[in-house]
Symmetry: D4
Subunit: 255 residues, 8 copies
Amino acid sequence: MELRDMLEKVKAGEVSVEEAEKYFAKKPFEDMGYAKLDTWREIRSGYPEVVYCSGKADQHLLHIFEMLYRENGEVLGTRASKEQYELVRERIPEIDYDESSRILKVEKPGKKRAGKIAVCTAGTADIPVAEEAAQTAEYFGNYVERIYDIGVSGIHRLLAKVDDIRLANCVVAVAGMEGALASVIGGLVENPVIAVPTSVGYGASMGGISALLTMINSCANGIAVVNIDNGYGAGYMASQINRLGMRSERGWRQK
Amino acid sequence: MELRDMLEKVKAGEVSVEEAEKYFAKKPFEDMGYAKLDTWREIRSGYPEVVYCSGKADQHLLHIFEMLYRENGEVLGTRASKEQYELVRERIPEIDYDESSRILKVEKPGKKRAGKIAVCTAGTADIPVAEEAAQTAEYFGNYVERIYDIGVSGIHRLLAKVDDIRLANCVVAVAGMEGALASVIGGLVENPVIAVPTSVGYGASMGGISALLTMINSCANGIAVVNIDNGYGAGYMASQINRLGMRSERGWRQK
Amino acid sequence: MELRDMLEKVKAGEVSVEEAEKYFAKKPFEDMGYAKLDTWREIRSGYPEVVYCSGKADQHLLHIFEMLYRENGEVLGTRASKEQYELVRERIPEIDYDESSRILKVEKPGKKRAGKIAVCTAGTADIPVAEEAAQTAEYFGNYVERIYDIGVSGIHRLLAKVDDIRLANCVVAVAGMEGALASVIGGLVENPVIAVPTSVGYGASMGGISALLTMINSCANGIAVVNIDNGYGAGYMASQINRLGMRSERGWRQK
Amino acid sequence: MELRDMLEKVKAGEVSVEEAEKYFAKKPFEDMGYAKLDTWREIRSGYPEVVYCSGKADQHLLHIFEMLYRENGEVLGTRASKEQYELVRERIPEIDYDESSRILKVEKPGKKRAGKIAVCTAGTADIPVAEEAAQTAEYFGNYVERIYDIGVSGIHRLLAKVDDIRLANCVVAVAGMEGALASVIGGLVENPVIAVPTSVGYGASMGGISALLTMINSCANGIAVVNIDNGYGAGYMASQINRLGMRSERGWRQK
Amino acid sequence: MELRDMLEKVKAGEVSVEEAEKYFAKKPFEDMGYAKLDTWREIRSGYPEVVYCSGKADQHLLHIFEMLYRENGEVLGTRASKEQYELVRERIPEIDYDESSRILKVEKPGKKRAGKIAVCTAGTADIPVAEEAAQTAEYFGNYVERIYDIGVSGIHRLLAKVDDIRLANCVVAVAGMEGALASVIGGLVENPVIAVPTSVGYGASMGGISALLTMINSCANGIAVVNIDNGYGAGYMASQINRLGMRSERGWRQK
Amino acid sequence: MELRDMLEKVKAGEVSVEEAEKYFAKKPFEDMGYAKLDTWREIRSGYPEVVYCSGKADQHLLHIFEMLYRENGEVLGTRASKEQYELVRERIPEIDYDESSRILKVEKPGKKRAGKIAVCTAGTADIPVAEEAAQTAEYFGNYVERIYDIGVSGIHRLLAKVDDIRLANCVVAVAGMEGALASVIGGLVENPVIAVPTSVGYGASMGGISALLTMINSCANGIAVVNIDNGYGAGYMASQINRLGMRSERGWRQK
Amino acid sequence: MELRDMLEKVKAGEVSVEEAEKYFAKKPFEDMGYAKLDTWREIRSGYPEVVYCSGKADQHLLHIFEMLYRENGEVLGTRASKEQYELVRERIPEIDYDESSRILKVEKPGKKRAGKIAVCTAGTADIPVAEEAAQTAEYFGNYVERIYDIGVSGIHRLLAKVDDIRLANCVVAVAGMEGALASVIGGLVENPVIAVPTSVGYGASMGGISALLTMINSCANGIAVVNIDNGYGAGYMASQINRLGMRSERGWRQK
Amino acid sequence: MELRDMLEKVKAGEVSVEEAEKYFAKKPFEDMGYAKLDTWREIRSGYPEVVYCSGKADQHLLHIFEMLYRENGEVLGTRASKEQYELVRERIPEIDYDESSRILKVEKPGKKRAGKIAVCTAGTADIPVAEEAAQTAEYFGNYVERIYDIGVSGIHRLLAKVDDIRLANCVVAVAGMEGALASVIGGLVENPVIAVPTSVGYGASMGGISALLTMINSCANGIAVVNIDNGYGAGYMASQINRLGMRSERGWRQK
């Protein structure tokens, strides 16, 4: 611990007050701040860094994947292209790629998945975004139940699944076009709903802006919204909420 | 009939071919067109003219109301202010005013109301717009069933009423904020749904634009949308559709 | 009928009350709901399911087409690419593809088409969307009259066709750019007009948003609007309205 | 003429080359430019300055009106409030105020009005904007024909007036809501159409933006658009065009 | 239990299979659905109904407040005007009103507040919205820490409070104008952040749309967004999350 | 002349009044209207039909070009691709194509160009749109002066050309990005300015919407705006205005 | 100095390493950060805090004004209402209020104003915003030259003043409607231009959004934009730039 | 000097007053204006012309590059494609191309870079825009410090660099998505911040519009905004500001 070391040296006379003052004055934020934030990162180390692959230069991507894989024994990338998959596979042959969700990952075998997150979609076209959410949450150690194609224009499909959905600590509701799924689910469950608008649609769907507005204007309680197509963000926040919900059950990660 | 008269005179030599040609050439649209359109107005005379009161000058408003009342024995005005009501009441003491829907009317007693239109709202704040639709449709001789406050964030309320809604020849779905009501109803009924976005809401509801976009993007079949708060327009089109649906039952207007 | 079977078995003692209760309790919406909706679907069985092809995975598309074709002896797909056509043709050689409207279908021969829907366009560039509407309506058993290229900037073209348009139970008005066609038609006919904005245009047409706004703001009575380029949705709703108009007539207009 | 005077003095040796150079170098734009623009202003002196009253401070407004009235024997103000009218009337008792168009003016008696501009509106609510256009054009010496309430949802009204409209050198088409009037007129006349969107409407009319988009996207030839509610701007440009059309005619109307 | 009763009667022959079938077929959604949802409401009864006062008719408002107060011994209203406060006070003299947050409430004395929610604002003008969130969460039994005026344009204010914020199970970040507060907090804490854009600002803040977009586009993990000025919605969802986080500590509900 | 023929036959008794009435009643708009509009087209025959090539089917395009060329000895197409040029060239080898403006045309040799239209651009990237305007106006017989790259960020370039611009009967001002050119020119000339926003730019230019808004909001008098990139529309309206301005000089087209 | 004190005490053994560690760990950002930022505030103390009055509670406003006045002997408030002026005047009778710019201030007499900032407006309606900028800059010790009403629709007015404008270290260009002023000035000067869009205008000016877009899209070099009507922000940044420009002349602060 | 020559000739009688008058009257803006502006260009000759390559025709681009290179011995192009690089390299083999920033340049060797501009980015994806800014500023002779990937969602990264940033005369803050970087920096430094929104992002980032709005709405003082992705514009204005800051220092920081 850098802070304590320095203080011990001051006490021991190994470092003069002047030198110590200069040291702290020069990097008040950098070092202390950094140390503080590092500790904090350690605390929540259940969340290894995730790589947003889209637009990364090849050498950059390879380097990050290899480094994270070496450190953690597993690695998760989102928005990866097939070309990036082929590139990474040459170095990490055990890498897996899911063309629909564009998830590129190696996951430690036998990982426990606890709690429950329900990931729901309105239509089949929303599944890629939902998979990004689901696989992110699974990678972070959460149990995920997928409930797809239950859009509100055929409400009986949703109603048939309502008990399953209500058991989750957190629901991720993924929908494009009119995006009404989140409102209906919000009215049926007691835990939080994270709404993910998708860019699915045409015409006045305006690349997901319509669905985003629908969700933001929801009359149901307990709904908050992430960016269009941001499955990763929804999976991350659902993991945070599920983890809070699991603490009581058996202690998060055996603490 | 102007057209026939002219032709008779040509035949009789009372009007020369040149004169007749000039006559027709000069007003091909005006007279013929006018006659034609008049006939057509007569055909659909079941729809007496409705007065959009908002912004009308006082003298103008009074004149229109008196004229229409004299001619038809009834008159319907929309978007009327309380001041306009008080103004008109001095001349037409039997006039009725509904402060919520801002409908100003005298209606013939004992009017038959046939067929069935269901007018539904998501919340109670949408009722003024719904009443504009309902009272317009009733004025045009349609039977209207009001089913209010069945928004999708408490889906059981809607489900409890679904049989009533399904019996209508046309459904008017009125909703602000996220505007998802129309989609859910659209998936449950077999007849057309006219969606009316309302300006109810705040923040990102943007005066009804959000609800309008939701409705336009609906994944359900059989939904079309009118302008924000346009209860009159929805009531009018629902009347057209209900009338089509009633023809078979006993004949529209005793034909 | 699942519901009745179960009740018969309860009466006969073949199934205990407890078992039946568990059965219903476990799937109260799914099965009953499903049965209910099935019945309803049966009622309106003139509307076989239609396939939205765009973005469907190849195996998925093939499976749905084959299944629907086997069940119904006919099948209709919208927004199909030429590649999808070639794919399906290998399994269903009698399939037809219309490159302009992107309709992919096999239709039962000798289908009766009753009532009348008028499908109108402002320009020739709007025809693909209009054809999606027209062919959808025809597939559902409606008689469709196509009246194309009658945009309001040459009003005499529309006026020349006004009698044909007025005989329809429902008019579909398809227009891009300024989208004024629906307003003019709405003022000339007595039956409902479904307005379809198209993405035809450039500059401030903003992919059809301008035409959508024009149509939503129409001053004419009896107009409602569907999504940009949503020919299918307009054709569907026009079918619902035409069907209502045909009930009474046992042979509409002596056909 | 300042320029010539200076040059004469240089020639006469009354002003040295150095002094003249300094003079020109110091105000090359101001004086010359000013002189130039003055000349130009003189050339088109048919257009006296018009006062945009809205938001002007009282003393400022009074000063401008008195100055212009003294100079020109007449004065025109737009967007004037009733309070401003009462203020100005105390100093200029012969001032006239039109509450609808908010025009505040004294006009020279017996002014000749030549050529022809047609000012058309879709509805009666568009008349205030139309009057701003019409009275501006009249003030500039143009003959104006008002043709109001000929909106496209009752196309026969427009068709009945088409000959009158076609005789104008320029048409001003004023419309709110769907704003389709300009397109229909544009297709029927041979001279330019200036389209004025109005803020009339509600809901998705968005204060005139919808009408503006409709008009900008017009498929008809010969249409250009001014700002929402900018009757003055349309009246000004119509005057420019009418003036061009009148040049040849040495007494238009004497034909 | 209605379901079991009916089945018993079928078994006993008291009700025929036909009658039972009709019964279930007629109200499959209504009764079962309703019963089901009622149970669910009971389960989460920790959340008494909250009244959205804005726009409620006086009699309606009084009735709801009296009924809820009688039933629950406490009542919470949001978006109440001062007039509504005075109205309600005549019937419920112990009612409290907070002019800034427009919260109108009677709360049971001695209510325990558990867990921890941090409610933060960027500026002082965001406090009314923050108070709506904070008082809602407190009413639902959550401990709330208010940390106001820590906007990112003076980042040291936020950094000085970061430890306090990090101890919360959920953070509510309230900000208008550029709305960057949520992103900075999101990068510093491990639990979820609910971002509330406010309509505070002028010019290009567009009534909160800018802040909403900023928050939706946040690069930080663990952020989701509610509607502009929707303090209530944020307070509600924060309560859901805090409750999940508290379960483990001593058992929620055993208090 | 159909109209006269019919009247002659009525007079001669060859056609009965009843038959004639039915004839007129059946096609009141089509035939008469058509005749009327034909006459009108003849009057302004200086404007041969122009072909909007973009999106036209190959056979359609060929047919229209050949037909118009045969009839008029010249033909003008806008928005033509290089492929379309090559297609048409096989049939009409004398066709010319300008890759920048995408104009495809054969023009009669020795055509007189009268009056004066100034076509100005802010930058060099606006030239393709300006050329569409200029070549359209030239094709219609107008003399066009091109004054390019005089954007307001280097105002001296514009000032150096101001005398040339002021001599035009109409100015076309073409600009993208901030689109300020029209305002500056509008303040310097006495004749109308047609402003053409272009889609040139990036970022917040939003495909020309920014330039469109700038131009619509111009404080200068005598400016009206056409659609983004609509060089043809500006060229057409400039031709209408120039023609009005030329009447006086020597008679339009030697009439 | 808190930091040094603590280190001295550690060295002297008056504070144990553990205690010191806890101290630093507990407030690493707050105290150090705060100290650091304080120093920085001192450095730029030429900028006393400015009060944004709009929406401040009365007691709050009074307290801030009195405190700042006592501390600095002067105080500046922006966006103050007349009521706020009257309120503050009771406590600080020497306070001045400018109704147009809504500036509320006491300024130390005899303040030197150095360097040069030019504040320009397009029209007279933009002056309130310009005055907010000018008076802010003057309060911060800058010499300001006001050059108002030089909008681009009368370019000679701007050209006549160009030499004055070019001598400024920084230009503030204030304009509403089409907002083109900044572009023209940007092309004429060598120092930075801060563009301030104003909400002046109507129709498609959309409360200043149009002017903002124009300015953001400027083709001229050396222009950056602040929020609509944000005269204060422009005055602040102009002060920063002018101060940089003055350093060389005689040394900033030695005055 | 043209002006003096002419005056001398007038004095000497070589040119008559009339001729001189005509001469000045004919080109008052063109020649004098041009001369004036030329002088001005000379004054700020530190800024050689920069080439915006995107969309330039090949011959045009080659010609400009060769001309500027010959004249200045160096040349800078922005937004160049790889194809353009290869094209220019054939003529100017010493040309350099940076694929990320798309800068194409030859720079004089040994150019001094003075003062200090800090160019900061939120993420790595913003680097291409930042490099356009940085390399532009370097080309103009400014010392640039790059501080990349310090986005606000990991605030410690920014805090660690705050001293470096504060030493700059001007900061360029480049950020996409939520764009909050500029606000945080603005609150930490005393010199001006130029904010550059980038089109980096997806969903509701709307191609950079969201980041632009965030930046325009910044609550921090001393921030102004340029167009989305406009690194060049930011680099240019930063150069202007840095130059002002350097004037006094005869060797800024002893370099």
